[in-house]
């Protein structure tokens, strides 16, 4: 961990499973003896709106919200939401993993808004951050036979960066506590695919 606090934001579209991803990261940190605060958005925002989880791993108790410009890590499940979050919470010291698969908001589907050009968007973040991993996480999930496993691929990729000094086996134990049988096998496969993609 670079400082005494690691501020992580998991961002995406309601329904993409970012709450589960933040829960896995946070649980592994608690199991490893860290103090953890997670701030979530629920309710109306679940129905396809922009969603964000703030995960703060530290040696002391902190509040649920990361101050602006203070994200150390952004785990973006969707390009537009990654950019939205980066603009508010990112800085030159922020590292970003971004799933490159877009999810178009209603305004774009209705041809009223224009979705940003993804390579341009990626370059924009790259130029203003410390590091960007642009990951075809959804394709990767499909390729290992888990089309709904994008969130697990992304979680695995986060672990693969080793930004938190927590071993792979701790996360796998968390997954084993959450799932059983075939569901566990599929989630582990997606998780490991993400891990390998950035390691």
């Amino acid at each position: 961990m670079p400082g005494k606090v690691l501020n992580i934001i998991v961002t995406g579209v309601g329904g993409q499973g970012n709450v589960l991803a933040s829960q896995i990261i946070a649980t592994a940190a608690v199991e490893s003896g860290y103090q953890v605060s997670v701030g979530e958005t629920f309710g109306a925002s679940q129905r396809g709106g922009s969603v964000m989880s703030h995960v703060r791993v530290s040696q002391e108790k902190l509040g649920p919200l990361i101050p602006r410009g203070e994200a150390d890590f952004i785990l973006g499940f969707e390009p537009l939401e990654t950019l939205r979050t980066f603009r508010e919470y990112g800085s030159q010291k922020t590292q970003v993993i971004m799933n490159v698969r877009p999810n178009y908001p209603l305004g774009v589907l209705l041809n009223e808004d224009k979705y940003p050009d993804i390579p341009e968007l990626t370059e924009n973040i790259r130029a203003n951050s410390e590091r960007v991993w642009a990951l075809a996480a959804t394709d990767l999930a499909v390729s290992v036979g888990v089309p709904v496993g994008t969130n697990m691929v992304m979680t695995g990729a986060f672990v693969g960066t080793h930004i938190l000094p927590i071993g792979l086996e701790t996360y796998e134990a968390v997954l084993e506590g959450l799932f059983t049988g075939e569901i566990l096998r599929l989630n582990l496969a997606a998780f490991q695919a993400g891990f390998k993609a950035v390691s």
């Binding site: 605060s37 629920f42 925002s45 101050p67 602006r68 950019l83 979705y115």
Partner: protein, 628 residues
Amino acid sequence: MEKRLLMGNEAIAWGAVEAGVAVAAAYPGTPSSEVLETLSHLAPEYGFHAEWSVNEKVALEVASGAAYTGARALAAMKQVGLNVAADPLMSLAYIGIKGGLVLVVADDPGPHSSQTEQDSRKFAAFAKLPVFDPSSPQEAKEMVKAAFVLSEEFHLPVILRPTTRTAHMAQDVAMETANLPARDYRFEKDPKWVIFPSLSYKKHILLNQAQKDLAEKFSHSPFNHLVLNPESSEGIVASGVSYNYVMEACETLGIHPSILKIGTPYPLPSQPVLDLFAHCARILVVEEQEPVVEDQLIQMAWKEEAKIEVSGKQDGRVPREGELNVDKVIAIIKAFLRQREPKDLAQPPHAWVQSTLGTMETTEAASAVEAAHEHSFELPPLPLRTPVLCAGCPHRASFYAFKEVGRRQDAVFTGDIGCYTLGTIPPLDMLDTCLCMGAGVTQAIGMSKVEPGRKHVAFIGDSTFFHSGIPGMINAVYNQADITIVILDNRTTAMTGHQPHPGLERTATGPNPKAIDIQGIVKACGVEFVREVDPYDLKAMKEAAREAMVYKGTAVVIAKRECVALVKPEVKYVVDPKACTGCELCLKKLGCPAMAKDKTLVVIQDNCSGCGICSQICPQKAIQGVSR
């Protein structure tokens, strides 16, 4: 001690289990729903009763009945739910209870998913009941246990008021042993349980006396914590979740004022405040929503003739609207420190306490704080992503049918609280009103009485129908209202996370052998025009809508189809590119998140859940279902 990652609401539930709760009752509402959600999972193992009640008034009354017998009971709701439960609450404060009664009311500054930003601490003060304001899940759990003890000591209901951020924040929480409820509770008959006016007068005297005793009791509460810095003449008082922001802001700014953390905002503990007065010339009060702590503190300064400058909401320093966060609190503290000009402390204290009142509009404060955040450079705006009805949501089909039938009639569509409030978003653009639970039906009645030539159609969800729609429907029949009521029966309470209700085959903890038939209720209430239709059958739905809107009198259409989030789709729809002319009718009329424009043609994405409405409206018959 075992530590577990718990959300604030889960920690509250565990606190109740550790306190040996015997009965827990709630109506779902963001940000409170996970309290009973968690308790319903724990109830079978720990041997207590947990229920989803039909509304918040019922929940509080159920819990109070259990508390009359000596059992510990909990009721949970969101802030606007307390408006519904206000009636029993106000009287319970007079009558009192025997076993501990804890009322969890989750406030929603922002607001994130509520109609108001009302402050339940103010409600507590209005009802003259003590209130706890947790700053973290760990503290919330400890406060629940302390609240049960306090409730039994004072024979009063005690309110625990988390805000959204505490309710939904997850932290590592130390777990303790659970206590199973006893089995030998018994209601002892006594005239003290019957609220006659003569008894109310006597009880009111006792209730007023208790305020002072509670303030004294809270002076020694571990939830109020004063850290004095003898080197500083400035102090910050913070209540609830704001305490986190204040601590982080002070660390960022590298300042060390005296800090008073308040965990019991009403009645305000006297001793730590007086100790702070003795050391400070200037005090900043940081709290979300209303100036509950601040107003009591100003009162205390006035009474004590303390020469203190008090800053907060009353001088416009701290915004009264929206949430706080670390960035806002940093801006607030910086502004507070900048105004450190020597005050003329020789003038009479009363005069200057007065001078701090109302010197600046609060909205001005809010915009000043907001301005502190603005990026120094302009960025192009990004496309917004607002919540939408899911792909295949049966409400979309119902709205579309009524829109098609009603558009030539200049009908008014009144709405209610639930996922279907999203029907107001274009292109459906269907709901003309939304006020509070149950008001869609009743407001339609009122409108119909003064706009006799116009058709009024009220939309209400199944759970909302049970919550407060039935009295409105009875009122419509009794008062001969010419309205159409559409019950959007998606077989769940969807928006808050799919809780059951009396129309379903399950309760909070198990099967429900007596699911109540909505159609049966409607008929029993004297409604003569009743149609139950599957909204996925667009032709039948439009026919029912047409007949209902022609009918003179109260007509009810039940649009019955399970929420898409609860079913696994068997079919998906595809557009035949040869047949599609790119007219975009489906796209423009339905606003379905599964449909997109690909160059000139419409395509259906993988999130299609197979409702088939697009296929039914396509003029070219270019959309067909295929099995998944």
